[in-house]
């Protein structure tokens, strides 16, 4: 059950997409989101989808992983689809029965929204699949660094993110272990009413909190022992460097945005 969580899951590889500078990848992802929200026609949206699917092919991430990231969002997709389908009533009526009325307007909006959300999920999971969490937070720190001028603690924010991301797998593992230990003592997590199940979580949550506090304390101590004192004058083991391929990628992305806008206007 816990193994299915894919947030921040890095899928190591050596493709072009993997090797792109992480800052460039974040910028491209944002540009791609713009690409998804600019168009009002299926043509423009289609170009955006071609872009993200092309990037997916280039990354050589198994197709299965893409489906895996979509799976938990199926309820949301269905919900959005159904809401749009039934509650938008513009255009010709396709089907009518008592209170239910489906119109062409509703159907196209529903399809549009679903494709848009699928695109969003694929795009953002592609970013986390191809970029290690450390590279990602490094890039965020660098991209946000102008905000230091207005006294935003950028380094601290990035450090908190790094730590949080770093501890997701650890905490998942820990939860798994505690769950196993309590199951071995006959804890029943799968059956019973909602209240019974909520109560069954107590033996898992308390040890989890206790160990998280212990871990936080240990980590703080370890950081202090290594003289951590914030971002001032801190250097990096891996410097972010842009290569020609990064400029090419940015150029291609800009091209796709232009195409999207054009397709939307012309067709």
């Amino acid at each position: 059950m816990l193994k299915d969580i894919t947030i921040g899951q890095f899928f190591p590889g050596n493709s072009v997409v993997h090797r792109l500078d992480s800052r460039v990848k974040i910028i491209i992802t944002i540009a791609f989101i713009v690409m998804l929200f600019l168009p009002n026609s299926f043509y423009g949206l289609g170009i955006g989808m071609v872009f993200v699917l092309g990037a997916f092919l280039l990354s050589r991430i198994p197709f299965k992983m893409m489906l895996k990231s979509l799976k938990p969002l199926i309820p949301i997709l269905l919900f959005t689809g159904i809401l749009n389908l039934f509650f938008i009533s513009t255009g010709d009526v396709l089907f009518e029965w008592k209170l239910i009325k489906i119109t062409t307007g509703g159907a196209t909006t529903a399809a549009f929204m679903i494709i848009r959300i699928i695109g969003l999920i694929i795009g953002s999971s592609l970013l986390t699949y191809t970029t290690s969490p450390i590279a990602l937070t490094d890039a965020i720190e660098r991209l946000l660094s102008p905000l230091k001028k207005i006294k935003l603690p950028v380094h601290e924010l990035a450090m908190m993110m790094t730590i949080a991301l770093r501890f997701i797998p650890t905490l998942i593992e820990e939860t798994d272990k505690i769950m196993s230990a309590q199951k071995a003592r006959g804890a029943d997590l799968e059956t019973g009413s909602l209240i019974q199940r909520a109560k069954a979580l107590v033996p898992i949550l308390i040890p989890l909190f206790v160990s998280s506090f212990r871990r936080a304390e240990d980590l703080a101590l370890a950081m202090e022992c290594r003289c951590y004192h914030g971002g001032e004058g801190r250097t990096r083991l891996k410097q972010l460097k842009t290569a020609p391929r990064d400029y090419i990628a940015l150029f291609v992305t800009a091209g796709f945005i232009a195409l999207t806008v054009l397709a939307d206007k012309m067709l």
């Binding site: 272990k177 309590q182 199951k183 071995a184 003592r185 006959g186 308390i206 040890p207 206790v210 160990s211």
Partner: protein, 284 residues
């Protein structure tokens, strides 16, 4: 009939990802009732994965597990009952403590079994005595106890279910030598008193040699040997090749016999060595 039996047991982690790893590779095993088995193996040899199959926490990728003649995973509803039959104490079990008082925490397992109040009370008092937890501590919060006490409360929590098989994963790790001997001694007392099957997972050959009647050696996900200590330690060279060692005292006596002193090769505990030496000395 063997209480634990595995047929071709195989378990693969992360199938279909770049992190795929065979953790347990076609293990065939039969453990008789009442046995005290030491399970040894290098870190990552698959011993922890193996034992999690014995109470149905992990589902084998391939192969079968039988407990007391009953095949696991045939009926998922039976798993919970199997878990009462095969008690598993994880590494660092003190991290699973959660109740307000020591008494309630030990009661968690027996309560899940649906036993009567009286029976639960009897079991708590009995197991607490066995692991050396005084009754004054019953009303304390488990988080107030010392490390060794917490560990013993957690072990008592599993013992109180009175499982037919008790499996302990490194019950003594992270304790000082005194706490170590105390816990292992108590586990041996438990085995003597209850005549139940006990599996003790350990890194330490000394501990295993001192307590176990049979030794199960895991190496590179495979079952390497399952035999008596004498036969296992006879293969000292093979063991050291896989990064395991025989007890120090065995090495000393092997060397002595290589030098021509007639001491035999079956020495693996200090006590036995002492008796043997005394005997040899008095014969002179």
């Amino acid at each position: 009939m063997a209480i634990i039996k595995t047929e071709n047991l195989t378990y693969v982690y992360g199938e279909g990802t770049p992190f795929r790893k065979v953790a347990v590779d076609s293990v065939n095993l039969e453990i008789e009732e009442g046995e005290f088995v030491g399970v040894i193996g290098h870190t990552g040899s698959g011993k922890s994965t193996l034992i999690q199959h014995l109470n149905g926490l992990l589902k084998p990728t391939d192969g079968k597990v039988f407990i007391d003649g009953e095949q696991l995973w045939e009926d998922k509803k039976r798993l919970r009952d199997i878990r009462f039959k095969v008690g598993l104490v994880f590494q660092y079990p003190e991290y699973q403590l959660f109740e307000e008082t020591v008494y309630k925490d030990i009661a968690f397992g027996p309560k899940n079994m649906g036993l009567s109040e009286d029976e639960i009370d009897r079991r708590i008092r009995e197991t607490a005595r066995m692991v050396g937890i005084r009754e004054e501590l019953f009303d304390k919060s488990p988080f107030e106890l010392s490390g060794g006490q917490k560990r013993r409360v957690a072990i008592a929590g599993v013992m109180a279910m009175e499982p037919k098989v008790l499996i302990l994963d490194e019950p003594a790790s992270g304790l000082d030598p005194k706490g170590r001997d105390k816990i292992l001694g108590q586990i041996r007392e438990y085995h003597k008193e209850k005549k139940n099957t006990v599996l003790l997972v350990s890194h330490s050959m000394e501990d295993v040699a001192k307590h176990a009647g049979r030794i199960l050696v895991m190496n590179k996900s495979k079952l390497y040997m399952y035999d008596t200590p004498v036969n296992v330690f006879a293969k000292a060279d093979e063991l050291s090749n896989m990064g395991l060692s025989v007890p120090q005292i065995t090495r000393v006596f092997k060397r002595l016999s290589a030098m021509g002193v007639n001491v035999g090769e079956e020495v693996y505990t200090v006590y036995f060595a002492k008796d043997l030496t005394m005997k040899l000395l008095s014969n002179k």
